[in-house]
Symmetry: C2
Subunit: 352 residues, 2 copies
DNA sequence: ATGAAAGCGCTAACAT
DNA sequence: ATGTTAGCGCTTTCAT
């Protein structure tokens, strides 16, 4: 920077002002500074700038796992949203381990990120670290959250999503059902389980089983075998996420169980997988963009109000039910029905 | 830090030495420093430390897209590898756009990362920015690379991978084939195309068509329709990656074309999708861990030797062919055959 | 083994 | 509008 100043015949302060635009600089000086900077291929050192300015223009994002396609989709939404401002995103993956998560959180703190978006991998084990972190810098929870704190959170209304699924199944004539999901260690798994049970009760649907493992293909496959080997078959299998449902669908086909004729299957998340399996998957769509936008908005708000202990904000977006082939007759394979949270119903063709 | 020093009754220099272990500190002082640090919940400011030390202990990684499951898998491998040292990974996504990629590269430079791993999204358009960046800091290309530079690179031998696929198909009795892949704008797409053409020629296989679009499900679906509507069917369809193959498989099932009986299909990458579709997919496995490890090794080497212009290192790992149901009779749905690059053949059961 | 002091590259008061 | 100067929080000579 000193070199640039020298070359342009000005002080470093002027260079700084010219480059950051923090204050007016006369036209000719500005030009010569910009020229000198270009000639020297000068790039400002963000480390130094951040240190001095006491703000890094970077955000941390901690997700449980990047292998579950739902999270990449969420990450992309956050990135797109961030693209406007020129802030940097520091992405970390806790790999479903609260110890790793804690390490990541601290690393991000040390990096002096301006704010933090976290999807805690465990409702209890993550609590201490997340709460402690939130006490230090603006933090909002994304998608998942810890229990018994009052921190900001934005995600979807899992309970409503499950209700939509179960009611749809009931309308399709389903009277008995098995639920396949993850052990309720995180908030998503918990709420989906509760949402399922409540709705099944409401709809007077017979719950033939609740199989709890992990949000993975492998568990879907395992569960399919258990379900098929302990006949009679239920009318429907409600899966806690798309990954499980895809595994389930694969295995059912292998076992010669026809979906949806013999057995209806539903997923949750509407990852890209849901459209490409056969039959395509009825599932619950998470509006990533909306969630990301809202989360960043809350973060900005925290930043502004700072210490004035405003009460915790909680935003639960209502998801849409996407009806595809795994629950309805394959009248038209290239259409899907979208039941939005507000009750709107739309139909559209897909993938072409 | 000053607070810690005060509380421990020492100088900041001693605090620094105690905390970083950069120099011996007498036992009692060390204890009191550590105690004070804990009591004050002190975390060192990495920004300041990095500025002073002129090294950030962080690496940048730029991938083309995070929606293609191959890249999350690669990212995880890099993270695992990095976990040992306590370096931070800054992950960016170019979203298949060389302009965005250039921005990301510069952002990472400004962050003063110690080194850079890049998978350039375009063999030509990415060149300028990547070469310019490599001139400034240690950089190694991962998976994809730019053309006509001599920068370090580590990835798999796409040509060999395609050769394995085509020879396998020939052995299975395939005499005619269609290739479905991405426009050859990046190195992977290019080499796979060339590998395919060369091998098809070697095996005297008739090439009925070359359909070039994008590495996506949607393109697989589109291509399936084109292939089926312009009968006669080839014996096999070789896809440029798993995503295309999965879309293809889905659509072929819909169109009542039986795989592999009427038509064999292959993928490339061996993402988790390859095991869970029906029929499961014969594909080429990329050894992520090996690639990640080698890349970091090269980066470390560059760091050490620094300016002594050693010639560019190029490491092409030989991939394995994974034989599943989409090319062979479904004798045993739960087995897959692995043909390693060294010629070794193994069989193992899967997903349970 | 420890402390004093300089300085990493930048920005923001404070002066002019 | 521009320059001078102090200092962000740390590490590392250089003394002792």
């Amino acid at each position: 920077m000193r070199d640039v100043a020298e070359r342009a015949g000005v002080s470093t302060a002027t260079v700084s002002r010219a480059l950051t635009g923090s204050r007016r600089v006369s036209g000719d000086l500005l030009a010569s500074v910009l020229g000198a900077a270009r000639e020297l291929d000068y790039q400002t050192n963000r480390l130094a700038a951040s240190l001095r300015r006491r703000q890094t223009n970077s955000l941390g994002l901690v997700v449980p796992e990047i292998g579950n396609p739902f999270f990449p989709a969420l990450v992309e939404a956050v990135e797109r949203e961030l693209d406007r401002s020129d802030r940097q995103l520091l992405l970390c993956e806790s790999r479903l381990d609260s110890t790793t998560e804690c390490r990541q959180l601290n690393a991000l703190l040390q990096q002096q990120v301006d704010g933090l978006l976290v999807s805690p991998c465990d409702a209890l084990k993550s609590r201490e670290a997340v709460v402690a972190t939130a006490a230090k810098i603006p933090l909002v929870q994304l998608d998942r959250e810890v229990e018994g704190s009052n921190l900001d959170w934005v995600g979807i209304d899992d309970h409503a999503g499950m209700a939509a699924v179960v009611h749809h199944l009931a309308e399709c004539g389903g009277r008995s059902v098995v639920f396949v999901s993850e052990e309720p260690a995180n908030s998503s798994a918990r709420r989906r389980l509760k949402g399922f049970l409540d709705s099944a009760f409401e709809c007077e649907m017979q719950v033939l089983g609740v199989l709890l493992g992990t949000f993975s293909l492998a568990w879907g496959i395992e569960a399919a075998n258990r379900i098929v080997s302990s006949r009679p078959l239920p009318d429907a299998v409600v899966c806690g996420n798309d990954l499980i449902a895809i595994g389930m669908l694969r295995e059912l086909a292998l076992l010669d169980v026809h979906v949806p004729e013999q057995l209806m299957v539903t997923g949750f998340d509407d990852t890209f997988l849901a459209q490409c399996c056969l039959p395509s998957l009825t599932t619950v769509r998470q509006p990533h963009d909306e969630i990301a936008a809202k989360a960043l908005e809350l973060l900005a708000a925290k930043d502004a109000v700072s210490k004035s202990r405003r009460k915790a904000q909680r935003v639960a977006v209502i998801p849409s039910l996407i009806i595809r082939e795994s629950t309805t007759e394959r009248a038209n394979s290239f259409a899907e029905v979208i039941m939005a949270g507000d009750g709107t119903v739309a139909e559209r063709s897909v993938l072409r």
